[in-house]
Amino acid sequence: MSDAPPEYIDFAAYSRHVPTTIPAAVQQATGRFLDTRAARVAEMENWEALRQAASDLRLHTLTHLDVYLERLEQQVTAAGGRVYWARDAVEARAHVLGIARSSHARTVVKAKSMATEEIGLNHALEEAGIQPFETDLGEYIIQLAGTGPSHIIVPAVHLKKEEIAQLFREKLGLDAPADPVALTAVARTALRERFLAAEMGVSGANFLVAETGTLVLVTNEGNGRMCTTVPDVHVAVVGIDKVVPDWESLTVLLKLLARSATGQKLSTYTSFITGPRRSHGEGGPKELHLVLLDNGRSRILADEVARETLKCIRCGCCLNVCPVYKNVGGFAYGWFISGPIGAIFAPQMLGTRAGRELPYASTLCGACVDVCPVKIPITKILLHLRRRVAQGDRVAPPSAPWTTRVAARLARWSLATAWLYRLGARVMPVLEAPLARNGWIRWLPAPLNRWTRVRPMPAFKAGFRSWWASHTKGPTTP
């Protein structure tokens, strides 16, 4: 993925070139997350009350952001940290490079951070002769592969274990069997050396607590802890929208975050870091630098409808439920943040000219609105942005070629004619038998390959009538 922000995101074109492996892998991941999330939500008596409280809290913070930002700077400084302000990506990169140079850093270990992807930090570090290492396992893998993330929580979900083993062989010269446990062990050993050698650790933050100037960092692997504990210098690059008023606010937000993201009650590690270490003995970095990034966020605040976008706590749940995302994966959205939240965030950050396709990359089904832990009115914002796009930039109207129109007419005829429909239900399983594997058809002959070039086709399971007959025969009450 290129580091410069894209000038135009051609969603339609990108989504036509999605490898067929991506939708299947993405749907496996999203299905898993949603199942465990559903179990967590069912356990909580006050889930809806928590969502409402979180929404109120986030909106309150955004509408008083100036006050909380000033308090944050005071408190971070009082705790012995240094605060830098960046109006845009250029300023943010310059701050990080300046800190890296003055601490004579040659290698940098990085915890997963959306803000550093947003500013293209890795590229800037490399150009300055400083080697950045992503340390989240998924990010590490895609950094080796030289691609972008396909999912916010599991960035390398589109790669098979065989491909990862191949990658480790080529890029690291290390032989490992194509087994997740063995591959993880290889990465652990390789990255341990990086952690112990790096002069500087770079992270983002999930939250910044204005009350005490505390950085809150959530990870499962422990790489966030490593990056913020082992090297002598810690730099956090964080968007100004991540501020929360106080620790009490975190009791609401932390309860929603992991449950919505992965279906965990809490993530494995939540670090609360207030300033650099106070004594040599306790360990932790000698220096703590916080780069606060605006990069268009204050502009977003000015639009009263769209400002609710910034309530986002980056759980990724809206991706997991989105029928569009689940069929195209993360790459099609053309920037580091994808899915429904990407469709409303990117056009506001990059402008409705560059991101003019994205508000249309949605069916407006509203599944994302139902699950969003901070109740962002995503569909309302999508419509609002469509209006902004229409008033400003022009987009090509959707049109169907004559072949599609003829196919649609044939489909209408066969679906509406009982004997034809029944005949189809009998013939289909026979026709597709040589092509279907594990319930998916990955290849179809032309012209039907227009579908399978982009995504696998679900195999025909049963005719509705026969399914209904067997379904109603089952016990009706448990």
């Binding site: 605060v83 997740p180 446990v181 990465a187 975190l250 009791t251 494995t268 360990g283």
Partner: protein
């Protein structure tokens, strides 16, 4: 505040239509904390949540420390260990018992490379949250942060006095400290084909021993 800082604050104010000194509305109400069940039920819940997270949690009586340590050393093939210098760990003479089993002890404030060579790190939980199977650890010169991070195995001793019903109580006590880490189970990932794998960067195993009341 830097020029850029002023500029960011100014553009935030302009976007919100606020001025410096415009009064702040009170923060919205926070939901009340969970109520604790009776103490034994709280212990049971902590144990079952930690075990569900692939940790190994159990009650350990005063005369079971010795045998439990021996088991752990054997089971996890511990040759080198580091530990906090907290009152409970000293009273239980964890260091002496480890040495007696032939385990080499590394000082907890040793160099990061030495700590990374340890098989076992022993800490004492400042907080325990039953609902989520979570431990809370603060830090100080006697209680370094890396002891629960760099060694391959983490053993946390939990006194009854560490139990808190909800995050609210933990946060009101911890916010005066420079560091707090909440730990729920061993280090894990599902980044390769969604297969859950333990011990990516942090400890591969988490053992949690809850002491008897008054211990």
């Amino acid at each position: 505040m830097s020029t850029a800082g002023r500029a960011v604050i100014d553009s935030v104010r302009a976007a919100l239509g606020r001025q410096a000194g415009t009064p702040v509305d009170p923060r919205p109400e926070i939901l009340p904390p969970r109520q604790a069940a009776d103490p034994e039920a709280e212990v049971d819940q902590l144990l079952s949540e930690v075990n569900a997270l692939a940790g190994v949690a159990k009650r350990v009586g005063p005369d079971e420390i010795e045998a439990s340590l021996r088991n752990l050393i054997e089971q996890e093939t511990v040759r080198r260990a580091t530990l906090w210098s907290s009152p409970t760990l000293r009273r239980l003479d964890v260091e002496g018992r480890l040495r007696a089993c032939g385990v080499e002890i590394v000082a907890p404030d040793a160099d990061k490379h030495a700590l990374a060579q340890c098989d076992l790190g022993v800490t004492e939980a400042d907080f325990a949250l039953p609902e989520t199977g979570t431990l809370g650890l603060l830090s100080s010169p006697e209680r370094p942060r890396a002891v629960s991070l760099l060694p391959r195995v983490h053993l946390a001793i939990v006194s009854r006095s560490a139990f808190r019903a909800d995050l609210h109580q933990v946060f009101s006590e911890a916010k005066a400290h420079p560091y707090l880490i909440l730990i729920s189970g061993p280090s894990r990932t599902a980044d390769i084909e969604l297969t859950v794998t333990l011990g990516v960067h942090g400890p591969r195993a988490l053992h949690l021993w809850v002491l008897s009341d008054g211990d």
